[in-house]
């Protein structure tokens, strides 16, 4: 009996020791400049693969599953306006159609790179537009396992990068890169992304939380190619490993270059949505 206890105590001491070292320092990988540059290059190639899509409209169904296996769905649509500069984020308009209680609720978002996003929400029951002033970006979107930033456009300059190596995933050759959020209030310390070497799309992302523990895995599948060589995943599945909850986001067909302009992404339009 004593023997076991001593072992436990020894293990305890080792663990605390190593945990404190990791806690105090930076992530264990020591990136050199070359691998940083390569990581950035791969991320940039992927990010730029849809340059010129101008604007898109799509509807989606979000299915939430809890640990007990119960599910719940929300239907919503997204309009996105591309902004060419890589130093500003895209503009987005999210409109909820179900659950019935929130039908017509609309979220206008001007994504920022390193500062809080600008967000306005229209509440039809209140008939008013409210600007949300919040520094929070990584919070769960409407109770799902997605943060808003997880499924909206990826902005190249939100992260620093490191190249890890090559791997295969789902029969494809993929590059593995790590990306480190630059936004101070991000809920993540690290993301590991797999980007295929053929059409340069993100296939899988592992998210690591503030203490560096594996938090979630996002798997992107059902990629379809649209005119102009633009690829979009139509099924996004996010699994939270810590809570065993998951969320699936299924998109219908995208429409591109639908003629959306800056004027369609201002506060005033929110009230006119139905």
């Amino acid at each position: 009996m004593l023997k076991i206890n001593q072992l436990t105590l020894a293990a305890k001491a080792t663990f605390v020791g190593s945990a404190l070292v990791v806690g105090a320092g930076f992530p264990a990988t020591y990136a050199d400049e070359a691998s940083e540059a390569k990581g950035h290059e791969i991320a940039a190639r992927s990010d730029r693969s849809d340059n010129g899509f101008t604007s898109s409209e799509v509807s989606a169904v979000m299915t939430l599953t809890n640990k007990a296996g119960k599910t719940s769905t929300r239907e919503l649509s997204f309009k996105t306006l591309e902004r060419e500069s890589e130093n500003v984020g895209d503009k987005g308009l999210t409109v909820f159609s179900t659950p019935r209680d929130v039908k017509g609720t609309a979220l206008l978002s001007h994504a920022q790179i390193l500062t809080p996003d600008n967000q306005w929400l229209y509440l039809p029951a209140l008939k008013r537009v409210k600007r949300i002033s919040s520094a929070n970006k990584s919070g769960p979107f409407v109770g799902s396992e997605f943060a808003f930033e997880d499924f909206t456009s990826t902005e190249l300059n939100k992260y620093s990068y490191d190249y890890v190596g090559e791997d295969t995933f789902g029969g494809m050759s993929v590059d593995v890169i790590e990306r480190f959020p630059l936004y101070a209030k991000s809920g993540y310390t690290k993301q590991v992304a797999l980007i295929d070497q053929q059409v340069f799309q993100t296939r899988k992302i592992d998210f690591y939380d503030r203490k560096g523990a594996h938090l979630k895995t996002l798997t992107l599948s059902d990629y379809r190619e649209y005119d102009g060589g633009i690829w979009r995943a139509h099924r996004l599945e996010m699994v939270n490993h810590q809570t065993n909850k998951s969320t699936t986001l299924t998109y219908s067909d995208y429409a591109f270059k639908t003629g959306l302009k800056d004027a369609d992404f201002v506060k005033g339009v929110l009230k006119r949505i139905r």
């Binding site: 605390v16 209680d101 029951a125 919040s134 929070n136 409407v142 109770g143 203490k211 523990a213 809570t243």
Partner: protein, 788 residues
């Protein structure tokens, strides 16, 4: 040697001869077997989850698991910061909270951290909804700003009484942890990390005390209590054992061999538990102490008989063989009944009692086998001096006692009977109390910190998953109004320190959305509006501070948490019942099925569940032990009669406990079958001698009683003293449940001796003479139990 040898006697003599002839092989085999079984201990680990005290089929556990699957796991750490200044609204204390909140995100497996610093304070500024940390940059806040924070925090129902004490003397940081439950070291490692964080904060911010409680601290306390017991109790128990042996058998060789035998029996018991991959709890860790206590009796019987034979001039080898012969059946029967009593614990609802029962049973059987193999083999090797013929074994005293009992048998029968009935009538007054903080003694940090924390915050959460009318129903105005009413009702109940309900969030948002106009400080009266508020709020919350732990996935139920201060199990039951009654009387139909759940609810009913589940176990133990008694005494009538002196003292022990102590934890359920298995030993010895006195020696009943007293009286006293000391010693356990069980069992064993000496003889005298069937048949006279 008696004139007639039974088959059992012949077997025993043959066995003893073989053992002595092959003694080196027997010793080697014992060492090898012990060594092999001992390797099993490598698989042993300490349990660090309070759920291990509940079986999978426990209804309260199932309800709580469902609840946790719907919302979130309830494992947590709660830091409580108490500044010496007596006011937490100062720059240093708020800085400490802010830094500790930030650091807590680094705690392994942490998924959520709540404190007044990261509380998501919402307010309106024209048409803006501002969502921000309540306290950021605490070190630089001005006195006016700090007063502003105080006003906000104390006005916020979700904070006041929960994360900040109403009188501002303490402040808390709550950390929710989600263990993957893959590795036994998860909890101890995390606790070690958390303690390091606490120590670092205490060093950095002098003048602050930091208490550490929460479910994770409770879980590790189980482990630490078990560890303390192993470190502190077992070595002391061996010293005690050696002292007892020296007094009773006065032989170094005998003591040495007995210590080895008992250590081996414990190792085999624990090794077997290892092969079954048992997670050790303080309860199962009482097994080594119990095995030791019970095994010592076997050895003492063999040694005393051997020395008595040597005293009258028998050589060592003959004395040893005679001792094995005389004790063989007695040791077998008493080991068997004791093992049955322990095995009956498998009927309990609490897995730790299954483990205790099985470990003890394995140890008892191992000790029995060794007492007729390893022990004689060793004794035949080691030098043993023949004692001087002197002492009469106290038989003169017991002769006088017998005369007294015979003379006053009527008074004794009715007097003891009346006292027994009076005490039995007190049994229903026993109150179950399973307040889990009080399971631990003050040597455990968790107990000290919990006791200290009670002054500032509640301790026992009671959860309600309040059902709404279907999907999205939590936004229904009627639901929110009833939820608010329920929360208000809960707040005024005795012992309730805080109530958390989403109706408070809704009220605040409604005010925020109307420009913080105080006239809108009320619930929204429109379902869609409430749903949209929730959506807005959910979008603006940061990582880890979502509402998923408060509202279920399809928004058809929300969670209300009532915190109770240190509350007895009885008062908790009253609270739970009145909450359920309130819902039945006041809530709409869809809300009525709402039931309370939580670890506290589980512990509130743990005693009932275990007593209930042990009813079958006790019945089986009584029947099985009764059969053994019938076999051992060779008399159906005496076997049945023996239930009275065996069963009565146990029930009376509960009565004595009810009068003297009053409250008891759930281990009470284990006491009956365990004590029954043990107390029958004395009855077996006494009745066997009584039967022998009548059948073989031809005494009348009074004579047979005197004969029984003179032959086994002192052995029974010695035996009882050892057992009582061993079980009473469990009271020094760091775990109160063991203390309850040990003291109650010790009480039952002591009472059993009184009943055997004062009540049983009277019963035999006053009862029908047909209690001993076939008293003329002397051929079978030695089939029954004989003893030194």
């Amino acid at each position: 040697m008696p004139k007639t040898m039974t088959a059992m006697d012949e077997f025993a003599v043959k066995l003893a001869n073989r053992v002595i002839n092959w003694r080196w092989l027997v010793i080697l085999a014992t060492l090898v077997v012990t060594g092999i079984v001992f390797t099993g201990t490598a698989n042993l680990g300490f349990s660090n989850n309070y759920r291990d005290f509940f079986s999978e089929s426990n209804p309260e556990l199932q309800a709580f698991e469902d609840f946790q699957d719907t919302y979130t796991k309830n494992d947590n750490f709660l830091f409580i910061i108490v500044p010496e200044s007596g006011d937490i609204f100062t720059n240093p204390t708020l800085s400490l909270v802010e830094e500790l909140t930030e650091k807590s995100w680094q705690i392994p497996f942490s998924s959520r951290v709540d404190s007044i610093s990261n509380f998501q304070h919402t307010r309106a500024e024209e048409d803006d909804l501002i969502v921000e940390d309540l306290i950021a940059g605490a070190a630089d806040l001005s006195a006016a700003e700090i007063e502003d924070k105080r006003a906000v925090a104390l006005a916020e129902p979700l904070l006041n009484g929960q994360l900040v004490a109403t009188d501002s003397r303490a402040v808390a940081v709550n950390v929710v942890v989600q263990y993957p439950q893959l590795d036994m070291n998860e909890v101890p490692n995390t606790v070690a990390f958390v303690r390091a964080v606490r120590d670092e904060m205490k060093a950095k911010y002098p003048g602050h005390d930091i208490l550490l409680t929460g479910v994770s601290s409770l879980n590790v306390a189980f482990q630490e209590a078990g560890f303390n017991d192993v470190i502190n109790m077992i070595p002391m128990m061996y010293l005690l054992l050696i002292a007892l042996m020296v007094v009773s058998v006065r032989s170094i060789s005998g003591t040495f061999t007995t210590v080895l035998m008992i250590a081996f029996a414990s190792l085999i018991g624990m090794g077997a538990a290892g092969f079954a991959s048992v997670a050790l709890t303080p309860i199962s860790l009482s097994a080594p102490t119990i095995i030791l206590t019970l095994a010592i009796a076997d050895a003492v019987h063999i040694l005393i008989t051997m020395r008595n034979s040597m005293r009258v001039g028998m050589d060592k080898r003959s004395a040893l063989i005679e001792s094995v012969r005389v004790n063989f059946l007695a040791i077998m029967v008493t080991s068997l009944t004791t093992a049955i009593g322990f095995l009956a614990l498998n009927f309990s609802d609490a897995p730790p009692f299954w483990h205790l029962g099985n470990i003890a049973a394995v140890g008892i059987v191992a000790a029995w086998l060794m007492s007729v193999t390893f022990l004689p083999a060793m004794l035949s090797l080691l030098p043993i001096k023949a004692p001087k013929p002197s002492d009469d074994g106290g038989s003169a005293f017991f002769g006088r006692l017998a005369e007294f009992v015979v003379a006053h048998n009527k008074k004794l029968l009715y007097g003891i009977g009346a006292i027994a009935i009076a005490l039995m009538a007190a049994v229903p007054q026993i109150e179950f109390n399973d307040q889990w903080t009080e399971y631990f003694d003050e040597g455990i940090e968790f107990r000290r910190d919990s006791d200290a924390s009670i002054e500032y915050f509640g301790f026992y959460p009671i959860e309600f998953s309040v059902l709404a009318p279907g999907e999205g129903g939590v936004s229904e105005p009627e639901y929110l109004a009833k939820l608010d009413e329920f929360a208000d009702w809960l707040r005024v109940q005795p012992n309730v320190t805080h109530v958390y309900s989403i109706s408070d969030i809704m009220t605040r948002l409604n005010k925020n959305m109307h420009g913080d106009d105080p006239s809108w400080d009320k619930l929204p009266d429109d379902r869609e509006l409430a749903a949209q508020y929730l959506l807005l709020y959910e979008i603006s919350l940061p990582y880890g501070l979502d509402l998923n732990d408060r509202i279920n996935i399809d928004k058809s139920a929300s969670r209300v948490t009532a915190m109770l201060t240190n509350t007895s199990t009885t008062d908790t039951k009253i609270f739970l019942d009145s909450a359920t009654d309130w819902l039945t009387e006041n809530a709409p139909d869809y809300m009525k099925p709402t039931v309370p759940t939580s670890a506290q609810v589980m512990f509130t009913y743990v005693a009932e569940r275990n007593v209930e589940s042990m009813i079958a176990g006790n019945i089986i133990a009584v029947l099985a032990i009764g059969l053994v008694m019938i076999f051992a005494l060779q008399s159906v009538k005496l076997g049945v009669l023996s239930i009275i002196p065996n069963g009565l003292p146990i029930v009376v022990a509960f009565g004595v406990w009810a009068v003297l102590v009053g409250t008891v934890g759930f281990s009470v359920a284990a006491v009956a079958s365990v004590s029954l298995g043990i107390v029958v030993d004395d009855t077996v010895h006494f009745l066997a001698k009584y039967v022998r006195g009548i059948r073989e020696k031809g005494y009348d009943r009074a004579g047979a009683i005197k004969y029984a007293f003179e032959t086994v009286g002192s052995a029974l006293v010695v035996n009882t003293v050892i057992l009582v000391i061993g079980f009473a010693y469990l009271a020094t356990s760091a775990f109160k449940i063991n203390a309850d069980m040990g003291l109650l069992t010790a009480l039952a064993i002591s009472l059993a001796l009184i009943f055997d000496f004062l009540f049983l003889p009277a019963l035999l005298l006053r009862g029908s003479s047909r209690f001993v069937a076939g008293s003329t048949n002397t051929n079978d006279s030695n089939k029954g139990i004989e003893n030194a």
